[in-house]
Subunit: 207 residues, 2 copies
């Protein structure tokens, strides 16, 4: 399937600023993007990176400087269907997860992110357009109904767990398998148990 | 399938203390337990609540005052297999999710929680015992291998999303369907959009 992979090539992963500086965030985002592209290609899909600036990666890149919503909608307009939209920060993505995303025979398939975002979509209806502002998962479900499209949702932790905040790094250390996890380990992060919960900590930190 | 549902009947959901007082946490925990029991029964399973004190609910209750790990292991010992262990705070549980948990033909089936816990298990191997301390999902996978049991994991957001902390309430308001969500709405919680993210807030709060 054709897959759009939106990527913020300018200032990615700003919510990781408490633990990573700008250059580190960019390197981490690049590693995550590489993981997502590799998984998509291994599963036989055709990813195109939809980036806000040129980016060096193993897939064709379409540069669109606009915010996420208008950039994705411009790419959807006139595109051959189906098209999937898979976020570049899904560091836990596997081929099996992609299979579950692509499998439902519905005109819109949506996978929620933690906190109400939409981390993956499959669009088979020509009138469906995205709106990533706010609680977009709920909005995308309503938009599918509004344009008469059949709707399926995908219940997947690997699709829900985008790596946005320092606390999300735990999931990547625990369940990741690719470059992004290796990058984190190389940067000195490790999983430690604290009060019966896991936290991701740099080896030079105490506490 | 026989299903153990461990439930802290004494001081449940302590990490919700910033937003709910003791009586409210207990009422909320009871509503969530009722949802979990109803979903299990609707799917044809036989839940037993494994509680730290007597509790009034729609299932048989076995009282064991010990901590979670020894209480579950005592219940596993000598029990007819298979047995599932499903946490009482899985407020997003659905029959379809349970089907995915019960489906794999493996001697141990484990579903991770956010942060590395183990939110659901199916045990078909007589030597497997639990240890919920720390990063238990990783430990349970290792324990399954150590006793020679075949292992499957379940990739489900609905099984991963236990409602432990105030920020988790967003998921319940967005994706819940039962009494726990109704209880939250009745207590004045609502979903609001803030800086492109959803938060759960009481209607009398500002900010």
């Amino acid at each position: 399937m054709r897959v759009l992979v939106p990527f913020d090539a300018r200032d990615p992963k700003t919510r990781l600023a408490p633990v990573l500086d700008g250059a580190q965030r960019r390197a981490f985002a690049d590693a995550t993007l590489a993981d997502v592209l590799e998984t998509l290609a291994a599963a036989g899909h055709e990813p195109t990176v939809l980036a806000t600036a040129p980016v060096d990666c193993e897939a064709p890149v379409a540069v669109d400087e606009r915010p996420l919503t208008p950039a994705v909608n411009a790419a959807l307009t006139g595109s051959e269907l189906p098209v999937a939209v898979v976020m570049a920060d899904l560091a836990l993505l596997t081929e099996a997860t992609l299979e579950r995303l692509m499998e439902p025979d519905a005109e819109v398939v949506a996978a929620p992110g933690v906190g109400g975002g939409t981390n993956a979509l499959v669009v088979r209806h020509p009138e469906f357009r995205v709106d990533y502002h706010g609680v977009s998962f709920r909005d995308h479900c309503e938009r599918a109904r509004a344009c008469g499209a059949s709707l399926a949702t995908v219940d997947s932790f690997r699709l829900a767990a985008d790596i946005d905040e320092p606390s999300d790094l735990v999931e990547l250390l625990l369940h990741g398998e690719g470059r992004a996890r290796q990058w984190l380990l190389g940067a000195g992060f490790e999983l430690v148990e604290r009060d019966d919960r896991a936290i991701a900590r740099r080896q030079d930190e105490t506490g």
